[in-house]
Subunit: 477 residues, 2 copies
């Protein structure tokens, strides 16, 4: 293996370069194959492309931002970057939470947001063919008009792009029933580091021709190639879901209810948990009237033909686990009202101290109770407010560390607690990231999760696709 | 990229070897780390491990067959093979249909069938942890006792192993609703070519830590590493399915019905099609009393809470598409009876001429009608009997070429028609293999489907994991 060749990810100057010292050369070469308005060099503007939505992540200063509209233009950008040995950082809407879209110094920021066409929607084949800049909500609504459903629904769905969703393998609220982005990517067109175009996968329901490079690209955070077109699988639109809220006197009881529901063979379309800290933050923000005595709130939904029957069964399991109150919605409007509290959770927690750092640890759902207990212990240890909301049915927790970024000591404690939460997740047989990705934020932790052999093989795969280490360098590992 | 390094896949002598000329050295070295009964050298016995169930595929003579029972023993085999530069062909139950498990001359056949323990079944986490030699049906029954369901159901499910299913990314009848093996593999332990152990993936419902090497291994036909343990996702056991049979006066009408059913948003648990040739072969074999005037038979099933209602809706769509008769089963026994004909299809087609060659072309389901029409044209052109049964809901067809292997001219025509069917599949936007894999049988066609850039990148991935080209050489590309 060639593990010795990965040591200069952040410094383009470390590579064999044609003439990288002169940014003018780079910009001139890019302009030769791009329309004038697609090449941005004004530092005030390019600086605004420096980072995504993660806190605590280093970000460099891009040399130039390009906004191609065609596959050929992307190929031109990559050919130029490879010739000049300049790193390229691909970006979507920059709603990511791990710094995976952060610029590195002197890089080309390759924003795909202008490639935003929905090329095809086929109700018979149940597929959509899209460019990477299509916004998740735009696609969801467009397929909805054909009675179809694109499930992945990250909370940024109104602004995030499909390309970004593919890069980070996004999840969302519906994953407990419908899975994550990876399950919906059938085929990709990818511009490789050297500018060549590669097609992977298929537009058929099944296909096993060769290695599954399509799924290798999903979640690769732009480090293996530039996705310029995607064939996505769609589902038929399910019936409107009906929601139940259950209040518990302890987080342990709520987690017990989650286990009973899943062990009982139920398939909820949503199974979310909010802890005491989150409930209080939401109450403070929006006066939702959630009882202050409630220590945990569980939200379950079903989009089955008879959701009321499913809610009754799940409500009984919640009561058996100790729920103090069970409130099933009777219609869509009531359901929406119950979900409001969950939707406001992150905003509410941001209000606590001004800044948050959102962990994304996923544990086997049988260990969810241990996870919540451990986070409470960590919050106490560091004298911090850490609220947990969780995609409980998946065991995917979002412990959200609230802190004042202007307070250096609190910031340090925030980062330490954030790391300790990841350590706890690994200890419980979980992963450091269920859906947000690694980016810059969790690089060191990825190595811990994968171990030395795993990291070496991941680097070997990276080297196979990107021998000069130009694609989103410094991310993942 | 290193495309120049792939030229000696079949000849271990072409590599830098320690002492490969002497098979005694190899066997002695293997015996040093394996129990006596795990190393087979009797040529009469080792010859029986030469091939899987594919026709027309070259197979070499193994030097030795090993049957390890532990991970450490597999590591010993791979360390030895790498030191001596001897190729290794991993095998499960050898029920594959593309020659992917065929031996190459002088290789070590590494049979995983003795590693057959089910290590864990967790109803709360909905996972099973298994060794690769566990038989699919054994696992299915074991999880069934916990109210759980492992969906992938290749027709060899009573004998094929989970390791083989992972190697070939197996499908089955239930894929139209439940997807293929890839959807159910969460994590793997893999022994690499040099004997090191790598863990990939997770035991959690979600996880995006680094590149998805787990799915890269699924369908890699033993060419990247040896799977020694798998964490599999399970579903809750669905209600018993109810089946409907619909008879059509033409294949085109049956295909139209498939499109109407899928476009209508239905989610059948099975949607199978048999063409006229297949129906007649089944009638000849088993006197099932299928009307000889029927040109196509469609079988649809639902495992929903109210399957009779779903069958009624789908029956109406079949009638609208021109079905001459629609027969919904009223219970499980009647359903089983209707499925008998489908289950007998391949056996019946084998009876036509003694030998069959089973294609596995998957097309977008909107092109299913064109596919069936094209196969009929090809059968006429080559004066051959070609029966088609299809996982119609997936567009996955199994055109089955019937021929007399003792007749050289007919055999030649059989192979030519087999290839022409793959060409047709690609022309219709499909893939050469929906679920059977590439192996030896479809190597040339894989290159056509992937194109030169795709093949080069696949080879680069192969080289990253297997720099000496020892793992199942000569397969895929």
């Amino acid at each position: 293996m060639s593990s010795g060749t990965h040591s200069t990810p952040d410094t383009p100057a470390g590579n064999v370069a044609a003439d990288p010292a002169d940014p003018a050369t780079l910009v001139d070469r890019l302009r030769a194959g791009l329309p004038a308005e697609a090449v941005l060099t004004d530092p005030d503007i390019t600086a605004s492309y420096a980072n995504d939505m993660a806190s605590f992540c280093e970000a460099g200063t891009p040399a130039v931002v390009v906004l191609p509209r065609t596959v050929e233009q992307v190929q031109h950008v990559m050919r130029t970057a490879t010739e000049l040995r300049v790193p390229v950082v691909p970006q979507g809407a920059r709603t990511g939470l791990s710094g995976a879209a952060n610029a590195s110094d002197g890089c080309v920021v390759l924003s795909l947001v202008k490639m935003d066409r929905i090329i095809e929607i086929s109700p018979v084949d149940r597929i959509a063919v899209v460019e990477p800049g299509v916004v998740n909500a735009t696609l969801s609504r467009a397929v909805g008009e054909h009675g179809l459903y694109y499930p992945p629904d990250p909370s940024s769905w109104e602004t995030c792009t499909i390309g970004g969703n593919i890069g980070t393998a996004s999840g969302g609220l519906c994953c407990v029933k419908y899975g994550v982005t990876a399950e919906y990517v059938l085929g990709l067109d990818v511009v490789l580091a050297d500018g060549r175009l590669m097609s992977t996968g298929r537009r058929t329901a099944k296909g096993v021709a060769g290695y599954d490079l399509t799924r290798l690209f999903v979640g690769s955070e732009g480090s293996l190639g530039i996705v310029v077109r995607a064939i996505l699988a769609l589902k038929p639109q399910p019936p409107q879901q009906l929601v139940l809220a259950a209040e518990f006197g302890s987080a342990a009881e709520a987690c017990d209810a989650v286990c009973r529901i899943m062990e009982g063979g139920h398939v909820p379309s949503l199974l979310e948990l909010m802890d005491r800290t989150t409930i209080r933050a939401v109450n403070a923000l929006a006066q939702m009237g959630l009882p202050e005595t409630t220590e945990a709130l569980l939200l379950a939904a079903f989009d089955t033909p008879d959701p009321a029957a499913d809610l009754a069964a799940v409500g009984a399991l919640c009561e058996a686990a100790g729920a103090t109150q069970v409130v099933p919605a009777e219609d869509a409007a009531e359901s929406e009202l119950l979900l409001q509290a969950r939707r406001l959770s992150l905003t509410a927690l941001e209000g606590v101290k001004g800044t948050t750092m959102i962990d994304d640890v996923c544990v086997p759902r049988s260990r969810l109770g241990d996870m919540l207990e451990g986070v409470e212990r960590i919050a106490e240890k560091y004298s911090l407010t850490i609220g947990v909301c969780a995609h409980a049915g998946d065991g995917n927790t979002h412990p959200t560390v609230c802190f004042d970024a202007a307070d250096p000591d609190e910031s340090r404690r925030a980062r330490e607690s954030f790391d300790e939460i990841m350590a706890l997740g690994l200890e419980l047989g979980g992963t450091i990231t269920g859906e947000h990705g690694v980016g810059v934020l969790k690089k060191e932790w990825l190595a811990r999760e994968l171990g030395p052999v795993g990291v070496e093989m991941q680097r070997a795969v990276k080297a196979a696709f990107d021998p000069h280490h130009l694609l989103n360098p410094g991310k993942l590992f």
